[in-house]
Symmetry: C2
Subunit: 316 residues, 2 copies
């Protein structure tokens, strides 16, 4: 084949370049739901129906929505669940007593306290009060320690969601360059831990080179690092932070941002991620949308953690 033919083919390839594969978090969540449903059925047959308890403090609108999503998913998958409401005036001592009671209740497999909590709480004290083996949010200090040491543990649901999206979409990580934007303890940090660590350890990692960027990363530097990244995980909580111009052609882009913006015309709130979806879709290889990407997967991972907790519970 002569050079001119090659050039023609390349030009054709470029002009026929498809937009990114939009990763459906809803579809992937359905896959996980099927697996969890099957595991739940087996446990039910053994007389061990998984049960998720959620403690909800105050009347934060988003928290109520998340709680309902979890209760609905649990019910669909054959688990039982309960939600315990407390007013925002509840004291930390009362909460610790409640958690202690639930820790000792053998009928409860998984227990989570919906965050954020009112200001008079130490969220860390509350997270550490939940028994690690029931901690389906993966926020207990021992689960964080195990996560960072590549041991089997309850992985925080959003980080687990990102991991499963990457795995189930067949995105390669070994030796690849991953940019994680945002270093929160519940999302960015555990994602970086999962992706940079050894694929042969007890809890396998991605063996990727991982960049941890955040609000102190100067914008020109962020752009430079984004242009090198095979995978970009946006978890900064900044709408439209990740734009098409800073990305490498064909990169995989996972959007973990949940930002509520008011539509200037209708005045209604709408959910957007950290990624400029429409433009990035034309340049990336894979992209997860908001809503319908990481969100439904995170709920599915809480369900998976709950069934794991039920499996691991002592049967006496």
């Amino acid at each position: 084949m002569c050079l001119s033919q090659c050039i023609v083919i390349c030009v054709l390839c470029l002009s026929y370049r498809h937009a990114a594969t939009v990763v459906s978090g809803r579809e992937l969540a359905r896959q996980i739901h099927k697996e969890v449903q099957s595991d739940t059925a087996k446990l039910v047959a053994q007389g061990n129906r998984p049960h998720l308890s959620v403690i909800l403090v105050g009347d934060d609108h988003a928290s109520h929505t998340y709680m309902r999503n979890k209760a609905r998913a649990a019910s669909l998958l054959g688990m039982s669940s309960s939600t315990i409401f407390r007013p925002s005036s509840v004291s930390q001592e009362e909460m610790l007593e409640l958690i202690d009671k639930f820790n000792r209740d053998r009928s409860i497999s998984g227990l989570l306290v919906q965050l954020p909590l009112p200001e008079h709480f130490s969220e860390r004290a509350i997270c550490n009060a939940v028994a690690p083996e029931k901690d389906v949010d993966g926020f207990h200090i021992v689960n964080i320690g195990k996560l960072c040491l590549d041991q089997r543990c309850m992985v925080p649901a959003t980080a687990a969601a990102v991991w499963e999206i990457i795995r189930r979409t067949g995105i390669e990580t070994v030796g690849k360059n991953v940019l994680v934007v945002g270093h929160s303890k519940n999302v960015g940090m555990p994602i970086a831990m999962l992706l940079h660590s050894d694929r042969n350890h007890e809890r396998p990692g991605g063996d990727a080179t991982v960049v941890m960027a955040h609000r102190c990363t100067p914008l020109p530097r962020l752009k430079e690092l984004a242009s090198l990244a095979d995978i970009v995980i946006a978890a900064a909580g900044v709408p439209h932070l990740i734009t098409a111009d800073i990305l490498k052609e064909g990169a995989a882009v996972i959007d973990v941002g949940i930002n509520r913006l008011q539509d200037p015309v209708t005045g209604k709130l709408r959910l957007v991620g950290d990624v400029d979806f429409e433009a990035v879709k034309e340049k990336a290889g894979f992209i997860s949308p908001v809503p319908g990407g990481v969100g439904p997967m995170a709920v599915a991972m809480v369900m998976k953690n709950t069934v794991t907790a039920a499996k691991n519970a002592p049967t006496y």
Copy 2:
């Protein structure tokens, strides 16, 4: 001043460029020793002399050297110490019993089990057996969890050594680009945690953009990332991995490598780091040598952890 004058001055600056400041770990360790000595004297005056216990299994030559360095440092600083030797045939159960006894012994402030242990041990089980408040190596799962959540804790000594070298040398980290090469759980991972995290948290971090590279990072990618780095921390255990050609002019280079190479002429073993010291010295802004860099600082940080453990111990 005209352009030609500027050019002349720039050329002069370039030609008179000094080699890197060689950071003396021994000198910095002396600073820390003074502080620890002063704290120790206060505790002794209160009848609470810090005591470090080291458990040493088998006859690994390097382990015996490390142990002697720690015992010598403890003695110099006014602490008492003890080393308990066990043959490599000792069982895990016997070790766990010994650790339990030491945990309950109020005269012991800090306790460490020198790693590596013989193959029949679970090092994780041993590290988790040491009471977190006496764990001067910072390897207990709860100390790792706290480290990763930016809480006050016993920071692993080598990571703490790198942190103190950076701080006491006045190397800026906020918004800077840091490349950590090597992702071991005792060294690379905790260094990345310290440097990328928030400077306003309970345990202040460096607020740097941190790249975690390791043996799966392709060499061309490592070079690309090194050329962007303001600070390079080499903790891969690969002699001469970091060469001058891949670095940015004026970068700070901290060498954590400890490699024993046989001299082809004399046949003697000599200690080298991961950095091509002589060449890098001419290009970097700061460089820590091996030996005499991180090594003495790591011993000093074990001493600092021991005095902290003594301060925090309940007085009943």
